[in-house]
């Protein structure tokens, strides 16, 4: 029987997918380009991101029951369609192992100091493998359970650092680094909204497509709002230089929490938010890879390839990226180009062909 998820569960998956990785890297990325206008960069990135989501939504008509892969095949033809799906599949693979690598590095450096990143990556990939093999319905239900904890942690984090905020840090507003603030939109969108392309592989599983489209939009909006608040808090509390200097500036933000010398250093909250969001992001991308291979190979069940994919992901995650500086360069070059091609140009092309074929 086909697994189905509700529009609310899809909304949570959109929220988690946008915030995973982004919550940790966006403040640094946006501030590197926009300096004190970093939070404005995220505001505009959210607006453009919502336009990207509007394009994604336009691919699926109200009565659509076909999956993304079938739509691609129907519009591009068998050969070109298969190449496009392979291209998107490799993007999802790239995203997944880069995320796995990130979590291995972060946990190994800040939380379980001294633990080899390989061990952390292995634990995460095994957990995700179990989730993916249970199917999207279980992932959706699990996301429902974890959403309140994520939101509470996020609200606590931003609320508790508020007394430390200095509004001088965000001034002058749009007086200097204006070009940087606008150019910065591109890398910010690249690691947030363009990665949502993988969720198009799940959207046909939602039991109500019009509601799913609404959930897609609202999920992006809420996640964008959270990113704006977090970036604003980072710049206001630790300043522009501090935000740029710290790779995980939001984690440093958590270390700054000090309420009446009683409630101190609750950076664990950040780690918690990140674990949860990135888990669902990896699961969704992993699921996308599995169903894409299922479609390309004409298989009966996507579970057939999940175990070998987990092996591949594990080895790629521990061998492909040497350090965080290389990762940052990658996020601004190769990965960004790939994200634009897959997350923006491919859907636009698909939409144009779809409209042209209708006429």
């Amino acid at each position: 029987m086909d697994q189905k998820i509700s529009a609310y569960q899809f909304f949570i998956l959109v929220f988690m997918n946008t915030l995973g990785t982004a919550i940790l890297f966006i403040p640094t990325h946006a501030t590197t380009y926009g300096k004190e206008n970093g939070w404005i960069t995220v505001v505009f990135a959210t607006i453009f991101g919502l336009l990207v989501i509007a394009v994604y939504n336009a691919i699926f008509s109200k009565e659509e029951t076909r999956s993304l892969f079938v739509i691609i095949d129907d519009n591009f033809g068998k050969w070109l369609g298969s190449i496009s799906i392979l291209f998107a599949l490799l993007f999802a693979y790239f995203t997944t192992f880069a995320n796995l690598w990130s979590i291995g590095q972060f946990v190994g450096l800040h939380i379980l100091m001294g633990t080899p990143p390989e061990a952390i990556v292995l634990l995460v990939i095994l957990t995700c493998l179990v989730g993916v093999r249970y199917g999207i319905e279980v992932i959706g239900r699990a996301s429902e359970i974890f959403l309140p904890f994520t939101l509470i942690s996020l609200i606590l984090l931003v609320g508790l650092v508020w007394p430390e905020a200095q509004l001088d840090n965000i001034q002058p507003i749009l007086q200097t680094n204006v070009a940087g603030a606008f150019v910065g939109i591109i890398p910010v969108i690249g690691i947030t909204f363009l990665e949502l392309f993988c969720l198009l592989g799940v959207i046909h599983r939602v039991n109500n497509i019009p509601q799913a489209k609404k959930a897609f939009f609202i999920g992006g909006l809420v996640a964008g709002f959270c990113m704006i608040i977090v970036t604003f808090a980072c710049i206001a509390v630790i300043g522009v230089d501090g935000t740029i200097r710290h790779i995980y500036s939001i984690y440093f933000l958590g270390q700054n929490i000090s309420i009446a010398e009683f409630f101190e250093r609750v950076e664990g909250l950040v780690a918690f938010i990140w674990f949860i969001t990135i888990f669902f992001k990896i699961c969704t991308n992993f699921y996308f890879i599995a169903i894409a291979i299922k479609h390309l190979g004409g298989l009966k069940d996507f579970r057939t390839v999940t175990i070998p994919i987990a092996y591949f992901l594990f080895v790629s995650a521990v061998t492909s990226l040497p350090n965080i500086f290389y990762d940052f360069e990658l996020m601004n070059s190769t990965y960004l180009v790939y994200a634009i091609l897959t997350g923006f140009l491919l859907p636009i092309l698909l939409l144009i062909v779809k409209i042209a074929r209708k006429k």
Binding site: T32, Y33, L90, Y93, F94, F97, A179, G180, V183, G184, I186, P187, G297, G298, L299, K300, D301, T304, V305, I307, P308, I309, Y311, F312, F314, V315, S316, V318, T319, S320, L321, E329, L330, N332, S333, T334, Y335, L336, V337, Y338
Partner: protein, 81 residues
């Protein structure tokens, strides 16, 4: 690395057998073949990594794929940092 390598290979064989049996019960011949090919490749991939031999570098592959675009794009982008 000898002990983890042997351990992982044993785990791989067990997983291979269990999953093979599961797919066989479903009478999906194509699935079985695809699984076997993928699993053999994945196990070789893992074995190569565990033996500290050079594994295929996916990032280098993607960098090669977008070589004409990524260089100029990156140069243009970082001037705004």
């Amino acid at each position: 690395m000898l002990f983890p390598t042997i351990l992982l290979m044993i785990v791989s064989v067990i997983v291979f057998y269990l999953e093979y049996k599961r797919i066989k019960q479903k009478q999906a011949k194509k699935d079985n073949w695809v699984f076997m090919i993928f699993m053999v490749l994945a196990t070789i991939f893992l074995f190569v990594y565990m033996c500290d031999l050079p594994t295929p570098d996916f990032v280098a592959f993607f960098e090669f794929l977008f070589k004409p675009i990524r260089g100029p794009f990156f140069t243009w982008l970082i001037q705004y940092q």
